[in-house]
């Protein structure tokens, strides 16, 4: 990195930095540290070390060991991981395919807007819409499976433990695909046309062109999409809150929702803090991976 020219001495430092520092210290930094701090204490303010962490990780709504290898409920932690395993490849792949094929499609901007609508929709509303779509009678998913003759899937998905979580995950693919599509579209626009002309002259097939030129050049976008998508999946809250309330039973609960239940229903701030800290640990793990990649670059 070249050194940039700077025009100013430090004399006005407070003017430019103090408002932001005050806001961040009071409403971000202090609360974060305080959450970590209380996660090591019992509600009676005794120091319990990692006690709260062992406590929450041994609860069946966080980690339901007996549930394996059957259907949910498997615990919020596993549900979050399932969310990543299913949602990440589906939304990333469909976004990439759409971005690639939409380059040669007439009216691509209309198609893009239709798919991007999910990204603009408040997640609370997104949760309502996906609940509606999976509802028996009024929803189209059940009508679809009725036509196919698959009776077991032609019902209110969110009302059964076997399907509730998957309804939310598939619904969230529908909401989030616009993100990877937009990021990949922006990335594709930066690839010089000459590369493709050269590939054409060499007689490369479209598949070869894609795997040898397009996908490698999109690597920075892939890193961004993977990171942001995993962060989004770990932070899932609104959809679960409005569509299933984590239910039926614990079948579709997630870490963020469970934290809220512990804190504001059970009023156990210490357990809630442990879940929040654990969740943050997971998000930081993902983020640090991305930073290390960007620094190496």
């Amino acid at each position: 990195m070249t050194r940039r020219k700077t025009i100013t001495s430090l004399k006005n430092f407070p003017l430019f930095f103090s408002p932001a520092i005050i806001l961040i210290v009071f409403f971000v930094a202090y609360p974060v540290l305080q959450t970590v701090y209380i996660s090591f204490f019992s509600p009676t303010e005794e120091f319990v070390g990692l006690g709260n962490y062992f406590d929450v990780l041994s609860r069946k709504e966080i980690l339901n060991v007996e549930g394996f290898p059957k259907w949910p409920p498997l615990g919020a932690l596993i549900h979050n991981l399932l969310w990543i395993l299913i949602h990440l490849p589906l939304s990333m792949f469909s976004g990439l395919v759409l971005a690639v094929i939409l380059r040669d499609v007439k009216g691509a901007s209309i198609v893009k807007s239709a798919i991007f609508l999910g990204m603009v929709t408040p997640l609370i509303v997104g949760g309502i819409i996906l609940r509606f779509t999976f509802e028996r009678g009024v929803g189209i998913v059940n009508a679809f499976f009725n036509v196919l003759g698959v009776e077991q899937l032609a019902r209110t998905w969110t009302a059964y433990p076997e399907t509730a979580l998957f309804a939310l995950i598939f619904g969230s693919v529908w909401l989030w695909t616009g993100f990877s599509m937009i990021i990949y579209s922006a990335g594709l626009a930066t690839i010089p046309k000459e590369y493709y002309e050269a590939a054409k002259i060499d007689g490369a097939t479209p598949f070869r062109t894609f795997f040898r030129i397009t996908f490698p050049l999109l690597k920075p976008m892939t890193i961004t999409v993977v990171t942001m998508t995993i962060l989004w999946e770990l932070k899932i809250f609104d959809i679960v809150f409005v569509a299933t309330r984590g239910g039926p039973g614990w079948a579709s609960t997630v870490l963020a929702y469970q934290m809220w239940l512990y804190a504001f229903r059970d009023l156990n701030f210490n357990n809630a803090a442990a879940v929040a800290t654990f969740l943050t640990f997971l998000t930081l793990f993902v983020t640090i991976g991305m930073i290390r990649y960007m620094v190496r670059r």
């Binding site: 990021i183 804190a263 809630a272």
Partner: protein, 277 residues
């Protein structure tokens, strides 16, 4: 011109995907403009079709959660929660872009780490702070937290923008004896208007769409925001999907209109803070 077979296939795929993607929205729209009994066997069932705006009126002045009040409340929160961090973060972003001090290059790291935080990580202490200040149920609490929460990405975004501005104009003003703040306010900020528009669009949408922070800080029924009223419209045993759909459309209409009208700024903001870094 000869049309190739592959071109046709690609078009069919693209347009069918768009159609599938739009179906859930279409369903909600159809439910919203028709009486509930009509859609009991599917919104695609047009045996009877009596469209009206009745459901919207009912949602707007719903008995347990009037949405009109909620929309107004959401604007009251979202507008200051957009303007405050916009201005504060512009100051700081400019500072990072122009002042010389040693830790400047670590700002990126800090900001990205803050962006990774789940809101749950601040929820309990924020609730406790605001309770002790007597600010629960007061929009000031929500505005302050939204402002602080949005600062990180806006600082990063504005810093990246300011780094690309030519420094010569500012140097000339400096020679003429203008103060740092005057240069910032009179010269730099007006040049930053396109970037500020992107920031405003994204931040406003995030605050409008937010649910979790409001859930924690605002509890009295008349102060609930628009997103908080949606779950309340679902009764335990009976869901009137028509009214609920109408309410959903009203709440999503605001971000969608902003997206449609200011798409250029939205996309620029979206790509700016995720890809550039």
């Amino acid at each position: 011109m000869k049309i190739r077979k592959s071109t046709i296939i690609v078009h069919i795929i693209a347009w069918s995907v768009a159609l599938i993607w739009i179906l859930p929205f279409l369903g909600v729209l159809m439910a919203a403009i028709r009486p509930f009994p009509e859609i009991l066997h599917g919104w695609w069932n047009f045996a009877e079709f009596n469209p009206s705006l009745k459901n919207f009126v009912e949602a707007w002045s719903h008995s347990s959660a009037p949405l009109g009040q909620g929309m107004l409340n959401s604007f009251l929160v979202a507008i200051p929660s957009t303007l405050i961090p916009m201005f504060v973060a512009s100051l700081t972003g400019y500072g990072f872009a122009r002042f010389s001090f040693p830790i400047r290059d670590y700002i990126f790291l800090t900001v990205v780490l803050i962006m990774a935080l789940p809101q749950q990580m601040i929820a309990v202490p924020i609730f406790q702070i605001m309770t002790s200040l007597g600010l629960v149920n007061n929009y000031i609490s929500l505005i302050l937290v939204h402002s602080a929460w949005g600062l990180a990405w806006i600082i990063l975004f504005m810093r990246n923008f300011f780094l690309r501005l030519p420094i010569e104009i500012e140097e000339a003003a400096k020679v003429d004896g203008a103060s740092d703040f005057k240069i910032f306010y009179k010269i730099v900020l007006p040049m930053a208007l396109p970037a500020l528009a992107s920031v405003a669009v994204l931040q406003f949408m995030w605050v409008w769409n937010d649910f979790f922070l409001a859930l924690i800080l605002i509890q009295s029924p008349d102060k609930l925001l628009a997103t908080q009223r949606i779950p309340l419209m679902r009764e335990v045993h009976h869901v009137d999907w028509s009214v609920l759909s109408a309410a959903s459309i009203l709440v999503m209409l605001v971000p969608i209109l902003i997206y449609v009208l200011l798409q250029k700024y939205y996309i620029r903001g979206m790509i700016g803070w995720t890809v550039k870094g």
